[in-house]
């Protein structure tokens, strides 16, 4: 094993690289640069985050920043999304290195949103200059237009927070007077009325201000003739306030200012938590989307330039370097190489491409540089086709009715009916005035008001999502957990999900001399089979001299006057025969008989266990893959999945899932390829890994951050626990209501009782939800 790691990027140093400290010149340069600037302590402070791209120093791309730039005459400003942020030290070093550039006047990086704002003096520096240093450290800066990202959601979240603050302030102060009234039994009537007026002074403006989110929503609902939760809420708050004013004018003993404002405060907490969940989910999706909106290099008169992928045109010649994504569908016009199509098709082995081969946008170029003439852009590409499949199924998914909405559909009419019958009962009851009837009816509305009910779902969800986040599970949609508890069938993808994408050498009778020679050639290639061979033989293998890579075929060199070839079957001069169950590499040394090395896909360590756990929970497990049937069969047998299908195109996978849904099955799809994206969107719940393609992550409901499959059954179990807690919360609030409502109908409710019922039920519900956040692992 190579124990040496690069001092800058922390990646292992390749064995053939003659340096003990750095893995490449870029890293060495970055290290020197930071130390020269006096920022060397960065290396002591930082910690690496495994699921974030390692730091790879690179040239800053030549981007035309003018479209994104804003600000006054001289001081200009740019906003960037930062890719590769690992920890707080990264924030520190980026800010400092920017601020030390001459001409940069301001640099502030928000660690939560990963967005950076830079201001600079136009006469002294240019964005090209100052971004270069950041790229040299290995971070990437992607400019974005803040106007495009500015949503009304964030503004709404903020205004909810302000409403909450005002309501909280008012509730606390009104309660101060209420407690004095309740406890001061010897208080004179005049003092009491004075206290009521003071309460009114605080509560009424606060209600008018903080109640707006509910009043507005109720108004819209009434206009559309719908009954939402906001209608009884608004009615209760407004009536409670009006009744209190009336009582105060009459000089009566009871006023409900405290109930009204406290009700509002609790409801706003629930509403705010709910909104925050949504915004967080949207934020992560947006970050992904912006990162995806990256750039491609095309040929032009002066050589090459970087342009946004959005502005690619058919006919442009793309230059795709080794290791880069191909930005659009096209035909290879120059160069030969092989492409990793696993994200698009699910095939685990690279495909050979030569001049004239059609390539699909989204594939990764593995070997030599390619020139690709773009044939389709925008809507016409394979990627866009996938996105369309995704769109349609997302629309279907959005129709899912949340449990909270279901509850309010029953709740709202029931409450109004109850209040109305209370009024009618007392109105026709002998010896009571119409006034009393109205007061009792309003009291019913106040005590039934769904504080606890409104908190039941959001509080449980916030607690659950923070717990799951610690376990490496990111919930991207608010209803993901709710849907996850319904599932009965789990569908897996193979490549990248159950398998790692690496291969294992399974030929164990090979001559050790042959293995050594093969490894010394293989070390020069980035082909996954070659990599696995080197890992199996000796990761420290030194490269053989003068190895030539013949893209798409294999490697070749001359050792002791013998031509040595390592590569595909026909490259080594063997007639193609039956396809075997395994992937293979052939070695031909001089005129000797060629030697064959067999490989098989490496399962993720926890794949079998994860599948087993799902089976123990009683779920059907199915494997769908775009790979060859032999490879799929081998994996299915290993992990113990009985139902499997090979050669599945994205549409086939999606069709299969649709078919399952039509049978009434609720599916959980776990996949990581672009080819899985439509099925992830179709499935009842779509789950993906952090290593998946951006588009896939955007459309999944749940992301497993550490690529750890066991988190999937964990989250599934947890989802039913969350559901249990939510149901318990509902039960609590119904139980409270079933005590409080009869008391209110009978006319015995006092403001003190109302306040007690309201706060105890809300607090019980919140504490109950908090149990989710402190769940121990393994429950």
């Amino acid at each position: 094993m190579s124990s040496k790691v690069c001092q800058h990027c922390g990646e292992p140093i390749p064995a053939h690289f003659k340096n003990d400290s750095f893995c490449c010149h870029g890293c060495a340069h970055a290290y020197k640069l930071l130390n020269e600037m006096g920022l060397g302590s960065y290396y002591e402070k930082r910690t690496f985050d495994d699921h974030i791209r390692p730091l790879i120093p690179e040239e800053a791309p030549k981007i035309d920043y003018s479209a994104y730039t804003e600000g006054e005459e001289n001081i200009r400003a740019l906003h960037f999304m930062v890719d590769g942020l690992h920890c707080a030290a990264c924030v520190w070093v980026i800010e400092h290195i920017l601020e030390r550039q001459p001409g940069v006047t301001y640099a502030r990086l928000n660690m939560t949103t990963r967005r950076l704002t830079v201001k600079w003096d136009q006469t002294k520096t240019t964005p090209e200059k100052f971004t270069q240093t950041v790229f040299e450290l290995g971070y990437r800066l992607i400019p974005y237009n803040p106007e495009e990202l500015k949503r009304k959601d964030t503004a709404e979240e903020k205004s909810l927070l302000i409403c909450m603050a005002v309501a909280g302030f008012a509730a606390a102060n009104v309660m101060l007077f209420s407690v004095s009234i309740w406890s001061g039994s010897d208080m004179g009537d005049a003092t009491k009325t004075f206290m009521h007026w003071l309460s009114a002074l605080i509560a009424l403006p606060a209600i008018a201000f903080s109640g707006r989110p509910f009043f507005k929503a109720a108004k819209i609902a009434l206009k559309q003739r719908r009954f939402t939760m906001e209608v009884p809420i608004s009615l209760a708050i407004i009536l409670a306030a009006l009744l209190s004013v009336y009582q105060t004018i009459q000089g009566a003993a009871h006023a409900y200012y405290d109930s009204a404002i406290m009700l509002l405060f609790f409801l706003l907490i629930g509403r705010y938590l709910d909104k925050r969940m949504q915004t967080r989910a949207l934020d992560s999706a947006e970050n992904l989307l912006t990162l995806q909106a990256s750039f491609a290099t095309i040929k032009d008169k002066n050589g090459s330039k970087r342009i946004p992928i959005k502005s690619l045109k058919a006919g442009d010649i793309l230059i795709v370097a080794k290791g880069e994504h191909i930005a659009a569908d096209g035909v290879v016009t120059n160069g030969y190489s092989s492409t990793d199509n696993s994200m698009i098709t699910g095939e685990s082995l690279p495909q050979q491409v030569i001049q004239g081969t059609a390539v699909v946008g989204g594939c990764i170029n593995l070997e030599g540089a390619l020139e690709v003439r773009v044939t389709a852009v925008g809507d016409k590409t394979v990627l866009a086709e996938l996105s369309r499949l995704v769109e349609t199924s997302m629309q279907a998914k959005n129709k899912y009715v949340h449990i909270a909405d279901k509850a309010s559909r029953i709740y709202a009419p029931a409450v109004h009916l109850l209040a109305l019958s209370t009024f009618l009962f007392w109105f026709f009851y002998p010896n009571t005035s119409g006034e009393t009837a109205v007061i009792y009816a309003i009291a019913v509305l106040i005590v039934t008001c769904p504080c606890a009910l409104a908190l039941a779902v959001p509080s449980a969800q916030v607690a659950a999502s923070s717990y799951l986040l610690k376990q490496g599970v990111i919930l991207k949609s608010g209803s993901a957990l709710e849907r996850l508890k319904d599932i009965d069938t789990v569908v897996f993808d193979k490549t990248g999900t159950l398998t790692e994408g690496n291969f294992k050498l399974i030929t164990d009778d090979a001559n050790s001399e042959d293995l050594r020679i093969a490894a010394s050639l293989a070390v020069c290639s980035s082909h996954p089979l070659a990599y696995s061979l080197v890992q199996a033989v000796n990761p420290q293998t030194k490269a053989a001299p003068n190895v030539k890579e013949i893209p798409g075929k294999g490697l070749q060199t001359t050792i002791l006057n013998h031509t040595v070839k390592l590569g595909s079957r026909d490259f080594c001069g063997i007639a193609a025969s039956e396809q075997t169950d395994h992937s293979e590499l052939w070695l031909k040394t001089g005129e000797k008989e060629p030697v064959c090395f067999l490989f098989e896909g490496v399962l993720r360590a926890e794949a079998t266990q994860a599948v087993q756990q799902f089976q123990e929970m009683g779920f059907d497990t199915i494997l769908l893959s775009g790979d060859h049937s032999s490879a799929v069969k081998a994996v299915a047998q290993k992990v113990g999945i009985k139902t499997f299908f090979a050669h599945q195109k994205p549409q086939d996978k999606q069709g299969f899932l649709k078919h399952l849904q039509e049978q009434g099955r609720k599916t959980l799809m776990i996949g990581d390829g672009l080819n899985d994206t439509p099925s992830l969107a179709t499935a009842h719940v779509g789950m993906t890994l952090a290593s998946a393609a951006d588009l896939t992550r955007v459309h999944a409901d749940i992301i497993l951050q550490n690529n750890h499959l066991l988190a999937a059954p964990l989250a599934t179990k947890f989802a039913s626990r969350v559901h249990h807690i939510i149901k318990m919360n509902f039960a609590f609030s119904i139980a409270y209501n079933s005590i409080a409502v009869p008391v209110a109908i009978a006319g015995y409710i006092t403001p003190l009782l109302a306040a007690l019922f309201m706060s105890t039920s809300s607090i019980t519900v919140m504490l109950n939800s908090l149990r989710l956040a402190i769940t121990k692992q393994g429950r």
Binding site: M37, G38, L39, S41, K45, C87, A88, A89, V91, W92, H96, R100, L109, N110, M111, T112, T113, K158, L161, I162, A165, V166, F169, A172, N173, L176, T191, L198, I202
Partner: protein, 56 residues
């Protein structure tokens, strides 16, 4: 009971001050980057100030 004349305004004033402080903090983007703020405090070290002085 005369003491109420002082106590009530004082209580209200204190509440109002904290409300104003909260709204001020919100308006000044104090809640925009909670993760960053938590770590930032650990990183303002003398190293920075020294080199800044050298610049001047």
């Amino acid at each position: 009971m005369d003491v109420l004349i002082y106590l009530i305004p004082i209580a209200l004033l204190m509440g109002l001050i904290s409300l104003a402080a909260f709204l001020w903090a919100l308006k000044n983007k104090q809640f925009e980057d909670l993760d960053g703020a938590a770590s930032r405090i650990l990183f303002d070290d003398e190293e920075t100030t020294i080199s800044k002085k050298e610049d001047n």
